[in-house]
Symmetry: D2
Subunit: 285 residues, 4 copies
Amino acid sequence: MTRAMPGVRQTPVSPPVNLTSREHRSESTVVQVGPASFGGRRVTVIAGPCSVENRAQTLETALAVKAVGAGMIRGGAFKPRTSPYSFQGLEEEGLCYLAEVREATGLPIVTEAMDYRQVELVEKYADMIQIGARNMQNYTLLRDVGRLRRPVLLKRGPGATVQELLLAAEYILAEGNTQVLLCERGIRGFDTATRYTLDLSAVPLLKQLTHLPVIVDPSHATGNWTLVGPMARAALAAGADGLIIEVHPQPDRALSDGAQQLTPDHFAGLMDELRLVAAAVGRAL
Amino acid sequence: MTRAMPGVRQTPVSPPVNLTSREHRSESTVVQVGPASFGGRRVTVIAGPCSVENRAQTLETALAVKAVGAGMIRGGAFKPRTSPYSFQGLEEEGLCYLAEVREATGLPIVTEAMDYRQVELVEKYADMIQIGARNMQNYTLLRDVGRLRRPVLLKRGPGATVQELLLAAEYILAEGNTQVLLCERGIRGFDTATRYTLDLSAVPLLKQLTHLPVIVDPSHATGNWTLVGPMARAALAAGADGLIIEVHPQPDRALSDGAQQLTPDHFAGLMDELRLVAAAVGRAL
Amino acid sequence: MTRAMPGVRQTPVSPPVNLTSREHRSESTVVQVGPASFGGRRVTVIAGPCSVENRAQTLETALAVKAVGAGMIRGGAFKPRTSPYSFQGLEEEGLCYLAEVREATGLPIVTEAMDYRQVELVEKYADMIQIGARNMQNYTLLRDVGRLRRPVLLKRGPGATVQELLLAAEYILAEGNTQVLLCERGIRGFDTATRYTLDLSAVPLLKQLTHLPVIVDPSHATGNWTLVGPMARAALAAGADGLIIEVHPQPDRALSDGAQQLTPDHFAGLMDELRLVAAAVGRAL
Amino acid sequence: MTRAMPGVRQTPVSPPVNLTSREHRSESTVVQVGPASFGGRRVTVIAGPCSVENRAQTLETALAVKAVGAGMIRGGAFKPRTSPYSFQGLEEEGLCYLAEVREATGLPIVTEAMDYRQVELVEKYADMIQIGARNMQNYTLLRDVGRLRRPVLLKRGPGATVQELLLAAEYILAEGNTQVLLCERGIRGFDTATRYTLDLSAVPLLKQLTHLPVIVDPSHATGNWTLVGPMARAALAAGADGLIIEVHPQPDRALSDGAQQLTPDHFAGLMDELRLVAAAVGRAL
């Protein structure tokens, strides 16, 4: 990955309509990541632990979620934590474990990169690069991944409007990368009964406005594992093209976000429910 | 309905746990309104126009929504409008039309009362009394309907937390009326892409916290008829016990909230979709 | 106070411009309440306890705040409490104590009425009637006080926009009562570090849009007495026409909202600070 | 500036209390930037255009704001714009103009860097480096500037709590850089009457919680130049240690954010007002 030095950057020429819009492209974009796809009839569930903590935990989780139908594995190696004193991720060691998981399961991997130095590293290991909610408007990072030819999972910032999410994606598309998957993961609201307010209306709205696929992260949105199942079902019923769900063999011992992670057993039960809901709205899982 | 004069009111004695809580009553309350019920296996769709505008429009809408499975009819006779210069409703004339609709369809009627004087009137005509979102914390009104033995539809205020909604319901139950149906109808959020932010996570959360049934109003929440269908499906998938949906024969000519009202045809199509989603989550419609 | 029965109400005829607007009346309205005034060069501080708890507490507080320059006394007799099991106020007994306080201090009194039955009672005792934040969109109540010839203190609802506040005031003016004082008291926000988010920008914005005077309630907004002083100073610097501040002789023993009430000593110190800030922006206190 | 490669990073050891807290350091930190200081008795106003557009505009603005008492110059060379098709800044050319402005005025310069590569460049030209609101939780960038010995202006993200702002600053302090200036610049709220909701209560709250100085940006918060003056006055009255205000010779022709920029004349008038308010709260300007 090379990049022109600052100082020679130019504002991209604005197209007649934004590249993310249905006006630009009426047909839905299907983002293909190895055997997994987003945006077609089939919905895909990405699952895995919040953080990659060690080889055993990562592999055990991946095999468990694969066994019940997950189509892709998630796991954090670089963790954007609110406090500098919280566990920050295993970094490259974590990426190696994710690569082993891919070998063992045959499933593609998504993990987050927080800046361009991490992008260089993540690109070597992961099938899809996640831009986290906190970096949704990190425009130089958006451009960096826009120059890759690797699918990008772009999460909505908790303080960002739907329009701002689309314009963030526009930064990526304007650099040439059209393989962008949008993710609603909860926005700031006044009620602290849930961690964030899951804005599910954004799903059908985005599906009207853009050809890009849209998935939902009920784990971060609710911060409460007992709400993950109902909101995952609701997301599919609302038209989401996929889900990203946190699963941990022992949530109570997780190094991050234990309260929102499902056990493999709960996840298995949820997958059964999701198959029924997907079918009810004309989709397959 | 009689009420003690101010000056002799006493703060109710607090029960060991709140009357609305699952701790107080673990079994789900089923609110029965004539043939319609909320809180059991069956989900009920309430439908009808935002405002009762005239006899023909009300009756036409009611017959159309009944024909495709609506279980109850809604229609506003007293309209809480943001501006004093907007159409304020037909008042008692509107209530008369609603009574005719009940005769013609056999379906129960719900309509809003905004104060004590209107409660006396609405009680004569309607099967369920709605306390609107703007009056969710009108505590004297809550007590007034708490002394009735008529089911109450209590809508969440757009600036109210889930906890505040439950405590508003507590005012009604503390007066002896346990037939209360809660309704999520969108809360204030920063994104103006939708009218309000539909807080669907509140549905499973409320179902955990309270034995009272919970329905969802996707029409007011989104303010956009194209989003009503997806969010109605999502609400059932999240576990809602029912829906309240606005339908108008000619939304473009509606005296209030035209943009969010479905045509009878769209409503018919939606009911087919909702039957499938309800079945997928083990419910019937 | 007489009121037409429901059924004969008619939507008021819309004036060319709203009655609350500067277009309708460019000159600032001065709301005069006995010796106190709002909207002229002089700013007025309303002070007193959150709730009227007993004669001694009310009188002691009133005399203390008068001694250091408060221009009007507040105190709640009918208390809109989130829980039905919280102290609900002394009701008419509390109004009697407020009347005694007026006798003893010569200062006018403001207290809240939550419905029209309370309005009839409050009107007998108080110089200004408060419509609380929870009732800002209780339109029948707004009309009731619109037919009085008694000044009204209208508090902004925590989920209400500036535009909705103005339209709520419009309900009162449309009935003929032009003596309306608006109050910003904090809105819903996502940060729980303060109870509400004090929207001080609403003050200069309202002063541009309307001729009605605007005051600020830093006590309810912050819910934290240590922030009341700085935000009271800020409110005057932003152009507020007055303040309403809660003071209690022993905040730790208050029956409601102790955490946000100042002691008389702190209030005295604050009044000294406020005089300096008022002078710095060309006002007097 | 060197940085360890990803893979060898370690979570910093948590101190007994956070480095930003008053418990860690009770005395207020004074951030000194050349002749300008923040956190002592004197308040400092930073002023300048939103974007550096050309040499003449930048110099003209700087001389004008210096003449009436601004203590520091701002101007954007790298602009984080919501749309990729908006003007993105002059980049290094803009930094050169800012350096000329420093020569011509003797005032220190602050400008934004959006990533590590820009930090290297900005560090050569600017006296203080701004981390913008969209990058408040860009943790690798926070660490990058934490390793510098250059003052940092850290703006609160529009979706960030006060606690999250403090923890973002903690990332910088944990790397050894204690010269951090916090800035409240408006948060997401539901009322679109202003661009953001200026959370002025955060100012006294932050002053209690942290020893770091706190300034306010009324320009971005309100997005409306007619509100900048009142909110600037309010910020000082609430205890802010400084202000950052946008000024443009011809706001109507500005390449970014024209609606919120003051003319030099309005700025001059505002400085006179601010001197009076500062004096009223025991500060000097």
